[in-house]
């Protein structure tokens, strides 16, 4: 008893940096983990230069965007199994309509695709709030719907895009190069804008309020339903960004990509990024390295000479172990309180 009281008093008078670490410790930890992994990877392969660096960031872009999509929705107390389907749908639709177009037209198409994704996913969010059916069920349906629609738009893999559009996401006209900056900027701008929106604005903070206690948020004057719809809309935008970057990287669309698997990766990424699946806790900044780490595991394991199937086993075990550690930390924290 005495120790816990002492702890509480100590917590009240802790210097700000300690409090900052308590709030952002997980975010810092995930970023450090990414840095350590990149450093380790650089010792594993014969030459590590800007090309390898660019490859990691560029090919990790869809993972990061999809994780961010899931993070925004989960923070608001939802869950969207459809984000992977939205990725495939956007990939396929843009690849089909961008084929043979000029740079300006492809940009217009990209913007239109993002807007359409916002409207469609916000509609899914509206169905979730209006029907009171659990998110997981409605978005299971939307996952099927997106995947089917994608198949209808482009039955066989194909399509294309402009060179400029590919450069925008990959730093190269052909999809692979050694210029990591375009991909970095494409990730940084939307993520920072949304992080600012979530942390500093009234409408962004209401996502946390609704996610942590819907009734309390409602009673304090937040429109809980509308907030959730907004979260689904923003999530849809990120999922569309993931689809656009896939189009840029691959230079084509493929409706046979299994969107469900990408959704599952996004869920794993946000958990690694410290977003609580119960809602109300987490940040999109921490989700960026988590998405990159999850993508990055397979090249690392391949570089270590592990066969790809084993790599998948190790990836699964790692996710479980991380969850167990997170559970243990949470359990200890609760005991202390």
């Amino acid at each position: 008893m005495t120790t816990s009281t002492a702890d509480t008093i100590a917590a009240g008078s802790t210097p700000t940096w300690q409090r900052w670490m308590r709030r952002h410790g997980w975010t810092v930890g995930v970023w450090l983990l990414l840095v350590v992994l990149v450093a380790w990877y650089s010792t594993l392969i014969p030459s590590f230069g800007s090309f390898q660096f660019a490859t990691i960031i560029t090919n990790g872009t869809p993972w990061v965007f999809l994780a961010a999509a899931q993070a925004v929705i989960v923070i608001a107390g939802g869950l969207d199994l459809g984000v992977g389907g939205m990725l495939v749908l956007t990939n396929v639709a843009t690849a089909r309509f961008m084929d043979g177009q000029s740079f300006e037209v492809t940009i217009m198409i990209a913007i239109a695709a993002i807007l359409a994704a916002v409207v469609i996913n916000a509609f899914v969010g509206w169905i979730v709030t209006a029907s009171k059916v659990p998110d997981i069920v409605i978005t299971l349906g939307s996952l099927y719907f997106y995947q089917g629609l994608a198949l209808a738009i482009l039955p066989n893999p194909g399509g294309g895009t402009s060179e400029g559009f590919r450069w925008l996401f990959t730093g190269s006209d052909v999809g692979t190069g050694s210029n990591p900056w375009p991909a970095t900027v494409m990730i940084a701008i939307p993520i920072l804008v949304v992080a600012w929106w979530l942390g500093k604005t009234r409408s962004g903070l209401s996502l946390y309020a609704v996610g942590s206690d819907r009734t309390a948020a409602y009673l304090s004057g937040i429109r809980a339903g509308r907030t959730k719809i907004v979260a689904f809309g923003v999530g849809g935008a990120f999922a569309a960004m993931a689809g656009l970057s896939t189009t840029a990287i691959a230079g084509s669309g493929n409706a046979n990509t299994v969107g469900g698997n990408m959704t599952l990766n996004s869920v794993a990424a946000i958990v690694l990024g410290g977003v609580a699946l119960t809602g109300g806790i987490g940040s999109v900044i921490a989700v960026v390295p988590a998405g990159l780490i999850l993508f990055f595991l397979s090249p690392i394991l391949t570089a270590m000479g592990v066969d790809p199937n084993r790599a998948q086993i190790i990836q699964g075990v790692l996710i479980v172990v991380v969850m167990m550690i997170a559970g243990l930390i949470e359990w200890r924290r609760q005991r202390r309180v």
Partner: protein, 336 residues
Amino acid sequence: MSTTMTPADSPDVESAPEAERKSIGRRIAEHPHVVLIAVLIALILLTGLIEPNYLSFRGLRNSALYAVPIGILAAGQTILMLTGGIDLSAAMIATGAAYVAANQSPEGTAIAIGAGLLVGLLAGAANGVGVGVFRVNPLIMTLAMSAILLGLFTSWAQTIFSGSTRMGDFIRTLGGGSFFDKRIPWAVIVWAFLAAFVIYFLRRTGFGRNLYALGDNAIASRLSGIRSWQVLLAVYTIAGLFAAIAGILMGGRVGAVDLQLMGSFLLPSVAAAVIGGTSIFGGVGTYSGTILGALILGVLQSMLTFLGAGQAVQQMLYGAIVIGLSWMYTRIASSQ
């Protein structure tokens, strides 16, 4: 919030026939299964309109055969959802069990089935340890288990399980064969036994009631002496076994097993439980509802096939119908 508003603004507009209609609505709300049965019959008749040959033993048999693996997988999902859990590794467990069973088929039927069930038992128990003992979120635990199993079986397929991928004759009869002049599939009989067991287990045994208690209020059930980790370990293990049974039956129906065998059944198994009225948050649901859900999905599959719709349209319709049915069910069940 909108449905809670309706009672407040309706009284002055409400007339006598309206009240009568409401009492019918209430009666339906108390027995939501009635609606599911009505939907099932309507779907069967509609399919019969599209393809008259469907309304025969042979036509209905195909729907039933499609519903069997969904229904058995959904049995696992139902008992897990009652505790507030879910199993996203069910399809992979089923595939693994079928793969091992096919591999052991030259050793004899009993060994093949036993080895297949053992896969389900072990993978299910591992899920149970993760969720029950280490308190890992069920979504993450089973998702990771699915990835682990896929990796394990992909590498084992080239090493220790590189032998036969064909099921033994007995399992093939069990999975795809029929009796009574090829009218009633054996797989349906297996499902019926399993269903009777699950329904009895949930309604009449103390352990079955523990599941509802745990899902309804974990803290209250702990205070009343339920050891939640034991219940969760048991229930995930049982769900693993069910998945293994579904996989072995499906493997027997297809004949030759590969690692994509059951993948497409995962989401329908969750959908069947949800359409049948099982709450994903725990504490509410019955297996009889899930059975109806599985049958509805089975008929739906036949209808979409007869419509000659391409895979694209099938998936879109499937998604729209899952949303529509679950919305309708929640509306009806909450209107009481």
